[in-house]
């Protein structure tokens, strides 16, 4: 019965509704798969007791009118606060922290019947693109380059979520995306990941990184599952003042696969110098697939694209420096041992030096610098102006009739863990070059696996949609998924 964990959410849901499968069996299969996959280091806090209890409750209410995720075992990124369960954002500064409350997104998932298998590894405070900044250690990608057993990154920051879904440890996982943290790892492991429009999912109870950019979203085995899970995660929440008070359409019902008459934009600025030929071909193939499906393909220009990463590396660290000020050793988490005569300032400084990893410290200090007196206008306000121009580029494209935009998801396939250790931080930041524009403009974006590179590693394409039109975006992604027919799975070695 080990194949149970390979089921999609939709298939498991339908089998449970027909009485052919119990959540108890499915959950046990996932718990076993997790225990056997220690080498991936994806699950960092396992919650088998909670999972079994939720599965029992789900089996007791199953039937045609059971909620949408009834009995579906999921993994939860460590960034989400889960009541009574460690929620550390993969940081030593939150060691031992067990929230007294539940995030809105996980509350909604549980209300929809979902089962929590445990918490998933990630980059510390979601700052990273390779899951190498985690206090729990690196996550390993279940994919390998042919017969080479070098460990590869699953991407980041939602690397544990990506690895767990790709390795069939859970049926789906939550992720969060501030600059590409759902879409880049999804592409690196051959799964689907959607970042919805800013404001679609409540941020309440999700450890904040950069509040004007952070959005939660699902990471799943296919587009249909993404639609089902996003539905359960979405909706207005009075506890998040940026949460949108607008109706959530039926995302799964939108999946007709019919995209005739849709206009797909191909932005010329995403054709980067030195782009690998395989990525060029993937993009051209994806364009042809959408054209064959009846979409109209148009070349578009998003002229401020090249300034997205530098703007992001002002805005995100600025917001992070402010958000992470709360980790002061007073109310929760780690407090440094003090020497005789140390006062409150020494307590703050030692606590934060011990608790934050190197990348987090660097970003907090960059953020502090760009917000400091004399530099606020030159850096922070300028970056916010550029952000407005980046958004305007997209607005103009949509006004001209574009329904969705097709781009590569990442500039390469998954790279080796440790390979970027000697590179300067900016080389790592370039991983998000195709995804970060979408966060700055607050738009929905989805990564869909569409091919393998010459080393046998998955590659993904990204579709970017109009604000609040995730339903339409998911349908275009569904059409692309059907045309690409990506079915490859990593060969099990763990």
């Amino acid at each position: 019965m080990s194949d149970l964990t390979k089921l999609t959410i939709a298939a498991a849901r339908d089998a449970m509704r027909k009485g052919e499968l119990t959540s108890a069996d499915l959950t046990e299969a996932c718990l076993k798969a997790i225990d056997e996959a220690g080498a991936l280091n994806a699950f960092v806090h396992k919650t088998p007791e909670i999972a079994r209890e939720q599965a029992r409750a789900a089996d007791a209410r199953r039937g045609a009118d059971a909620p949408s995720l009834n009995g579906i075992p999921l993994g939860i990124k460590d960034l989400f606060c889960t009541k009574g369960v460690p929620s550390q954002a993969a940081s030593n500064i939150l060691e031992g922290f067990k929230p007294e409350y539940e995030s809105t997104v996980t509350t909604q998932l549980f209300a929809s019947g979902a089962v929590m298998l445990g918490k998933l590894n990630m980059d510390e405070f979601a700052m990273g693109s390779s899951n190498e900044t985690s206090c729990y250690g690196d996550v390993v990608n279940p994919w390998r380059r042919g017969n080479d057993d070098a460990a590869l990154t699953p991407g980041g920051s939602s690397g544990g979520s990506a690895s767990a879904v790709a390795a069939d440890l859970c049926l789906g996982a939550t992720g969060t995306d501030t600059g590409g943290s759902i879409r880049q790892p999804a592409a690196f492991v051959g799964i689907t990941g959607i970042k919805p429009t800013y404001g679609r999912c409540s941020r309440w109870g999700i450890v904040a990184f950069a509040s004007s950019l952070d959005q939660a979203g699902p990471m799943t085995k296919d587009v249909r599952d993404a639609a089902i899970m996003l539905q359960a995660m979405s909706g207005h929440d009075p506890k998040d003042s940026t949460s949108a008070d607008i109706p959530v359409p039926d995302f799964e019902a939108a999946l007709t696969g019919d995209i005739r008459g849709k206009t797909i934009g191909i932005p010329k600025e995403y054709r980067m110098d030195g782009m690998p030929a395989e990525i060029e071909k993937l993009w051209a193939d994806g364009t042809a697939m959408l054209k064959d499906a009846g979409a109209k393909i148009v070349d578009i220009s998003l002229p401020h694209t090249k300034y997205a990463l530098p703007a992001y590396y002002v805005i995100a660290p600025a917001e992070a420096s402010s958000n992470l000020a709360r980790y002061d050793g007073v109310r929760f988490g780690h407090r440094a041992k003090l020497s005789h005569g140390d006062g409150i300032t020494e307590m703050y400084e030692k606590t934060r030096a011990e608790g934050f990893g190197h990348e987090v410290q660097r970003r907090v200090m960059i953020g502090t610098y760009v917000l400091s007196a004399g530099f606020y206008d030159a850096y922070y306000n300028r970056a916010r102006r550029v952000r407005a121009l980046i958004k305007r580029d997209f607005d103009l494209a949509f006004e001209a009739g574009v329904d969705a935009i097709l781009t590569p998801a990442t500039p390469s396939s998954a790279f080796g863990l440790g390979e970027m250790a000697e590179a300067d931080p900016i080389q790592m930041y370039l991983n998000d070059v195709f995804t970060v524009t979408v966060n700055l403009a607050g738009l929905p974006g989805i990564a869909v696996p569409t091919g393998l590179d010459g080393q046998g590693l998955p590659l993904g394409l990204q579709l970017i949609g109009r604000p609040w039109e995730e339903a339409d975006l998911l349908n275009v992604a569904y059409s692309l998924e059907r045309a690409a027919g990506f079915v490859a799975k990593p060969a099990r070695w763990w």
Binding site: S241, Y307, M347, Q361, V364
Partner: protein, 95 residues
């Protein structure tokens, strides 16, 4: 812009992160590299463009000014590294 060791020390102090003196030169050079990358933004003509405050065109919601929660002292203090007599405890602040 090139960041010198004194600036790096000042930023670390502002961020309330203890950085040992011997680590400051490397930190300063990392800052310089990142700020050099950021300075591409100076190429953009931003004349007349308002800094973005909200990515979606919506007003922040207001709620009624009423008490909606409370009486949770134990829960609030539950995760404190040091709590005494119903308060967070910290080293002496006032001399």
């Amino acid at each position: 812009m090139s960041i010198d060791v004194d600036t790096a020390r000042r930023v670390a102090k502002l961020a309330r992160i203890k950085v040992e003196d011997e680590a400051l030169p490397a930190l300063a050079s990392e800052f310089s590299a990142i700020l050099g990358f950021i300075e591409q933004l100076n190429e953009v003509d931003v004349e007349g463009v308002e800094p973005m405050t909200s990515v979606t065109p919506m007003r922040l919601k207001r709620r009624d000014d009423v008490v909606t929660d409370g009486n949770q002292q134990a829960a609030v203090l539950k995760n404190a590294p040091d709590a005494r007599e119903g308060f967070f405890a910290v080293p002496k602040v006032v001399e």
